[in-house]
């Protein structure tokens, strides 16, 4: 086992720039129509998955990676993070995941995180090492009505990190959001309706809506907000809505029913299980934290470890992974959802294909299928087991160097004790 590990890491360092890879012999969770292959082969060529099969014949020119006894999955997708927007969140910065009011956007809808992404942030390297290859990233803290446009980013250490700018819109209808928007949900929802109605009106008014809008406009939205909200109304930009209580979730369902074009995903959804059937009927999936089983407030009295399992039983889909510095723990969270009734395969789907679908990037990410971006992880065993780990991460078809700042700190101090602490200085 250890020998295989060493071999694997040797291969990894030697072949970082290999263009053609063949991952052979692993238990492959395709998360696609092929399901699970007990001993599968994944061919990677030029950054893409070329083929997934049970064939053991490897065409010439492919670097062979032996994954026998290991588990192969698509790269994990952080379902709701601030990766790339945050370095050190408290009292140190930089932090672009919280915003102050600014005249550029009256409602916050126009805010666009794709301008703020920096994948050199330490947390990106640390998360990548543990199998997170892409993520939805968005503003988490704002007093405005909308939290603005999130992006889907790649954790690829090379190249452009933005996979999809303006990928989704974030809105919160929780009690905390109401506090910041009129102090009551009676005000919050009217503001939401008004903002969307303004976007509809501007769209209806003639061939050049923006001109008409600019001529005589006295709405609560700014021009930039209207433009973005029109994309949301068309369903071109998915709308991620935070709500926890069954009462608020029902409002979300009704809101979607009134605006048929909307593509809605529920976020948080602590009491989603109570309205599971309605959510499924409305085609609304849920990003949730399956370990959230204590009420943070009176909107979460129905908190239960069985939330994900109950949604699955009703035919719903969930994504798991709401964190930034420890998005790498999404595997543990999914494991705990599985130990409370979620199927293992949906536990993996909650980290891969489900968030990809919710974000509208499932054509490119989330499964091991020909033509998709080659984001692949080779695990030492079941990824949902806390004692297993990512042994090799492949992003965009390239094996990444399996090291991080944390890894270097560990090795430095391990060496220090190994030398019996002979020199406490760090002169090199």
């Amino acid at each position: 086992m250890k020998y295989a590990l060493v071999l694997l890491s040797l291969l990894a360092s030697a072949m970082v720039n290999a263009e053609k890879l063949a991952i052979v012999g692993g238990q492959v969770h395709t998360m696609g129509e092929m399901g699970v292959l007990e001993q599968g082969t994944v061919l990677i060529n030029n950054g893409q998955i070329e083929a997934v099969s049970q064939s053991t014949d490897i065409p010439s020119g492919y670097q062979r990676i032996d994954a026998s006894g290991k588990v192969v999955t698509p790269g994990l997708i952080g379902a709701m993070t601030s990766l790339g927007l945050v370095e050190v969140s408290m009292s140190a910065g930089p932090v672009h995941s919280s915003v102050d009011d600014h005249a550029v956007s009256k409602t916050g809808a126009a805010l666009d995180v794709s301008y703020a992404i920096n994948t050199d942030a330490t947390v990106v390297g640390v998360s990548r090492l543990e199998g997170v290859t892409s993520a939805a990233t968005a503003i988490q803290s704002s007093g405005q009505l909308f939290h603005g446009q999130g992006a889907v980013i790649s954790l690829d250490p090379n190249g452009d990190p933005i996979l999809a700018p303006n990928a989704f819109m974030v809105l919160k209808v929780t009690g905390a959001a109401a506090q910041a928007n009129g102090g009551s949900k009676a005000a919050l929802w009217v503001a939401i309706e008004t903002a969307f109605n303004e976007a509809k009106e501007a769209a209806i008014k003639g061939q050049s809506p923006m001109f008409r809008y600019a001529d005589s406009w006295h709405g609560i939205t700014s021009k930039a907000d209207v433009k973005v909200l029109q994309e949301v109304l068309k369903g071109a930009m998915p709308l991620f809505i935070y709500a926890d209580s069954a009462a608020d979730i029902r409002q979300v369902i009704r809101f979607k029913a009134r605006n048929e074009g909307l593509k809605v995903t529920l976020v948080g959804g602590v009491e989603a299980w109570r309205v599971a059937e309605e959510l499924v009927a409305a085609n609304i999936s849920v990003v949730l934290d399956p370990e959230s089983n204590l009420p943070g407030n009176f909107e979460q009295l129905g908190a239960t470890l069985r939330n994900a399992a109950k949604l699955e039983s009703a035919g719903g889909k969930v994504a798991i992974g709401m964190n930034t510095h420890n998005i790498r723990l999404a595997t543990q969270h999914a494991g705990n959802a599985v130990s409370h009734g979620l199927s293992h395969e949906q536990g993996l789907a909650a980290l891969t294909i489900n968030p990809a679908t919710m974000l509208g990037v499932d054509g490119k990410l989330g499964s091991l299928e020909a033509g998709k971006q080659a984001d692949v992880v080779i695990w030492s065993g079941d990824p949902l087991e806390v004692t297993e780990s990512a042994e090799q991460v492949i992003i965009n078809g390239k094996m990444i160097e399996m090291t991080s700042r944390q890894d270097k700190l560990m090795k430095r101090y391990k060496a220090f004790y190994g030398a019996n602490g002979t020199t406490p200085h760090y002169i090199r």
Partner: protein, 477 residues
């Protein structure tokens, strides 16, 4: 009843008049570890809020065919454990089954000591976390050693029952970390009850929460200070200098009382009571501290004033100074993998716990979280496997020391609980598999030999008053 009433009167007299009380007047209420009659605490009632804890009745029970992790580094593959009268009676590979004992077949299951979390805010930051419930941090002055967490504990916090389902049998409730001295801690047995006193761990010593680094700076920087780390250290030093004076004055007073004189008692100061308790060794120090260099400074402050730091909490950089922590006999209570949320947590690594352990220092897995406390076995499992991957040769049975024996030592209760050894309190968890797996759950949790949680009987799971009649009456409904 009458007797108790008279005793309380005597105690009241002591507290009110602080004279004429002999060391024995309150000796029934003082820590048995403390036989030092010339400390300040001999005339001040050290235990004015005594434990009224009563174990739930248990049956004499023997668990057979079970994988035993004893919590002090030992493992029996196919062992037996017998407990009765709240106490572990026998442990071994093969025991004679006592007549009348309930037999539990532990085939395929693991038995461990109950998990002890030495860093919890359950009850003081309960769920729901409304402002009305926010009672964990007396952010009014940098030195509030006078406040006692037990006076904030809301025993109806649904979090206690959730922690119980995770195998937590004892826990320390700490004040927050805004202050240099945040106040006294309380150790509880995790049997959710009507009152804090009904949960209070009998004869556990008090602790005092102290805090290094960013938090006091941030909270007091614009409120009169401290606003720097050097300001923090000046704050601890001045407080301990004052406490030395206070202790001297009380020692002198007690000496004169003992000599039959009638001296005027020094003025009582509740902050100083707690600090003098630290100096005399009656009260254990639990210090929130992240950075390696700061911990080393604090160990010098400790020597300067002649007290002992029991445990650094969080200790995200403990791996950098594990040798010094071992030398100074200071424990580190750590997370498996929390890091980066603030600058002093920036150098957090996954191998922190195993590296501290490997250096021969006392390593503890703690939660500081109402969610994390529910699966501390998984936290230990992560730290263990990260350590093994990094080349540290640690067994699972050694790793369990982080969850039971070491936290028990950190809380001063290792003579009572924290291991599966004859004579110890029967605080035990029967797991339905290997507790180092995500999928394993606590099947039965015993506290003092009484069955406190049974995974397979959801109707018996505790439901707090708060949950009653709500959407979810505990996970069981």
């Amino acid at each position: 009843m009458k007797f108790t009433f008279k005793q309380s009167l005597a105690a009241l007299g002591c507290a009110a008049l602080l004279s004429g009380c002999t060391a024995t007047a309150n000796s029934n209420k003082t820590n048995p570890d403390n036989n030092n009659s010339d400390t300040v605490s001999s005339v001040i009632n050290k235990d004015p809020y005594p434990s009224t804890y009563k174990p739930i009745p248990g049956k004499p029970t023997i668990i057979t065919n079970v994988t035993v992790i004893d919590g002090v580094g030992g493992k029996i593959e196919n062992g037996m454990v017998y407990f009765a009268d709240g106490v572990i009676q026998a442990v071994g590979e093969s025991l004679t089954i006592p007549s009348g004992a309930q037999v539990i077949d532990g085939k395929g299951k693991w038995l461990t000591p109950g998990i002890i979390d030495n860093h919890s805010h359950l009850g003081v930051y309960p769920a729901p976390s409304t402002r009305s419930h926010s009672d964990g941090n007396e952010m009014t002055s940098p030195v509030t050693a006078k406040v006692w967490a037990e006076h904030s504990v809301w025993p109806q916090d649904p979090g206690f029952a959730k922690a119980l389902a995770g195998g937590v049998t004892s826990l320390q409730i700490l004040p927050g970390s805004a202050n240099l001295f945040g106040g006294r801690s309380v150790v509880l047995k995790n049997l959710p009850s009507r009152t804090m006193q009904d949960m209070k761990f009998p004869d556990a010593p008090y602790g005092v929460k102290m805090a290094c680094g960013e938090n006091p700076k941030r909270v007091y920087g614009q409120k009169g200070g401290p606003m720097t780390r050097m300001g923090n250290v000046a704050g601890y030093r001045q407080a301990f200098a004052n406490a030395l004076d206070y202790k001297r004055a009380w020692d002198k007073y007690e000496q004169e009382v003992a000599q039959g004189k009638s001296p005027k008692p020094p003025k009582r100061d509740l902050n100083m009571d707690s600090l003098a308790g630290i100096l005399s060794g009656d009260i254990l120090v639990h210090m929130h501290c992240y950075r390696a260099d700061e911990m080393v400074v604090m160990m010098d402050v400790m020597k300067e004033f002649g007290y002992q730091i029991g445990t650094f909490h969080h200790a995200v950089e403990a791996y950098k100074i594990a040798d010094k922590l071992a030398e100074n006999n200071v424990c580190s209570a750590m997370w498996a993998d929390w890091w980066g949320f603030k600058m002093e947590a920036y150098d957090g690594i996954r191998e922190n716990i195993p590296m501290v352990h490997n250096a021969g220092a006392c390593a503890i897995v703690h939660s500081d979280s109402k969610i994390g406390i529910q699966r501390l076995n998984q936290e230990a499992a992560k730290a263990w496997s990260d350590g093994v991957r990094a080349g540290f040769d640690i067994s699972k049975e050694e790793a369990w020391i982080w969850l039971s024996a070491n936290p028990a030592k950190s809380l001063g209760v290792f003579d009572k609980t924290g291991s599966i050894e004859t004579g110890k309190q029967a605080d035990l968890v029967l797991w339905n598999g290997d507790p180092f797996s995500t999928y394993t759950k606590a099947e039965k949790v015993f506290i003092d030999g009484g069955l406190a949680f049974d995974l397979n009987k959801p109707d018996t799971w505790p439901v707090s008053d708060f949950e009653l009649g709500q959407t979810v009456e505990g996970e069981g409904k």
